[in-house]
Symmetry: C2
Subunit: 249 residues, 2 copies
C-alpha cells in the first residue's frame, strides 16, 4: 500500500504570514482536503513574496512530490509575483491567456467593473497552464505540470482546491482511530511505545492537552488498512486495561 | 539598516499538522514574537515526525539564518524524536542532562507524579545545549548553537519563546503603517505600484478582503525607518486623493 501513496507539498507565499499580520488558515484546509482525497501532505513551506525564494521552494518541492499546491501572490498588485516565479521555475514563457482573459472580462462585466491593466495582469499564465476556476473570484487559479496555483484569500483558496481535487490522482485514504485518556502522556508513554513496536506499520501519535486544568492525552492511530487499524486499536486497549491507572502517574 | 537584519526560520515538526488533525497556531505566535523583538522571520517549514526530514530541514535552515526555532517532538512518547534529530543534525552526542533531570525531578515531586523512564527521556539533551524553561511544563526546551527547540503545545511554546527572546540578538524593529480602503485592490493597484516604485526601500503589500459582501483592501507599508515610512505614507495618500474613486473600479 505504501507504494500507492500519492504525496503532495504545499507552499504558502506571502510576507504577511511571516510578519505575523495574517494568521494562516490555508495549511489546515489543504491538509484536510488532501486527506479526504487520499493524498498525503508530506511537507509545507512558507516563503516571502521574493522571486528567488519562491523559485527555489517550487523546484525543491515539485521534484519530490506527486503534487505541489501553492497559495498567495496571484492578485492584481505589484507584490503578486507567483505566476512569474512559477514560469521562471519551470523555464516557460508567461503571457496573457485568452481563456483567462475571456473569463475575467465576463466576470468584470457582471460586476460592472473595468478589466483594467492591473486586473489584466491576473490573466497572465505560464505557457501550458490549465485554469482552476472559483466562482467567488474575478481571476482563476491554474495548474501547470504537477503544480496547482491558488489564491491566498481562504474562501477563494477553498473553492479552487475543491475544483481541482477531482482532476487529481487519488491514493488509499488513511483511516484513523483515536482514544482520549484523562492521564498525562508521561503515564502511558511506555505501553504506547510497546504497542507501536507490535504494529510498526501503523502510525501512532500522542497529543497532550489540558482540560479544566487537568492533563489528558489523545492517542491517534493511522493506517490505510481497516484490518490493521482494528487490530492495533484492540491491542492498545488491552494494554491500557492492564495498566495500573493512577498508581504510577 | 539591511545589514543589521537578524533573520530567523521556524520549523514546525509533527504528523498531526500535516494530517489536518491539529491546526497550527505556533507559526503566528512565533511571527508576532520575533517581529516584536526585531528579528525577521524569513522562512517556515513543516515536516513530519521523521528523522531524515527533520535533519535535512534543520541543516538547511540553521545555515542561512541567524536563528532557527523549532516546535514539537520534545515530549515523552515514542513519536517525540526532535532532540535526537537535532543531535544528529549537529553531529553531537545526546544524553541525560543533569540540570534538566534535576528540574524535572523537582517538578514531578511538586505534581506528585513519578519521574519514570518515559518522562526521563525528556531530560535527554544534545551535548552543549542550554535549558529554556517554561513554568507550565514538566520538561524544559533547550537552545543549542543558533537553534531554539520548543514544545508543540501552544501555551508551553509561548512561555519558552518569551523565556528565550531576551537572550537573543535584536535587530531594528520594522515599523508598519496601514490604510483600509473600501475599494477592490484591482482599482488601486496601478497607483500602489507607482508608490512602490517611488519608495523601493519600503515593503508594500496589498491585502483584499470582503466586509458585508463588499470588497475592500488593506495596504500595508513596512520599513525600519520612521522617516521613510512617513514619507511613503504621505505619498500614497496623495496618490489616492488624486485617484478618481468609484469611476474606474
Amino acid at each position: 500500500l505504501t507504494q500507492n501513496r500519492i504525496t503532495a507539498a504545499a507552499l504558502i507565499i506571502g510576507d504577511e504570514i511571516l510578519s505575523g499580520r495574517t494568521k494562516d488558515r490555508n495549511i489546515g484546509a489543504i491538509a484536510d482536503g488532501l486527506a479526504g482525497h487520499g493524498i498525503d501532505l508530506t511537507e509545507v513551506r512558507i516563503v516571502a513574496d521574493d522571486e528567488a525564494a519562491i523559485v527555489e521552494a517550487v523546484n525543491a518541492l515539485r521534484a519530490r512530490n506527486a503534487y505541489l499546491f501553492t497559495t498567495g501572490g496571484i492578485g492584481p498588485t505589484h507584490d503578486d509575483i507567483t505566476p512569474d516565479a512559477i514560469a521562471k521555475a519551470l523555464g516557460v514563457p508567461i503571457d496573457i491567456d485568452p481563456r483567462a482573459r475571456a473569463l475575467m472580462q465576463a466576470e468584470c462585466d457582471r460586476r460592472g467593473i473595468e478589466l483594467n491593466a492591473a486586473r489584466l495582469r491576473m490573466a497572465r499564465l505560464p505557457k501550458g497552464a490549465d485554469l482552476v476556476e472559483a466562482d467567488n473570484s474575478i481571476a482563476p487559479g491554474f495548474m501547470i505540470g504537477n503544480i496547482v496555483v491558488m489564491a491566498g484569500v481562504p474562501p477563494i483558496m477553498e473553492k479552487m482546491l475543491a475544483a481541482v481535487l477531482p482532476r487529481l490522482r487519488s491514493g488509499p485514504r488513511r483511516l484513523s482511530w483515536s482514544l482520549t485518556l484523562d492521564e498525562p502522556e508521561g503515564a502511558i508513554a511506555g505501553l504506547f511505545a510497546e504497542c507501536q513496536q507490535a504494529f510498526p506499520d501503523v502510525a501512532m501519535g500522542s497529543y497532550p492537552f489540558k482540560r479544566d486544568g487537568r492533563p489528558g492525552t489523545e492517542l491517534v492511530l493511522r493506517t490505510t488498512s481497516a484490518e490493521r487499524l482494528e487490530a492495533a486499536a484492540a491491542d492498545l486497549q488491552a494494554r491500557i486495561r492492564a495498566h495500573p491507572s493512577g498508581t504510577k502517574r
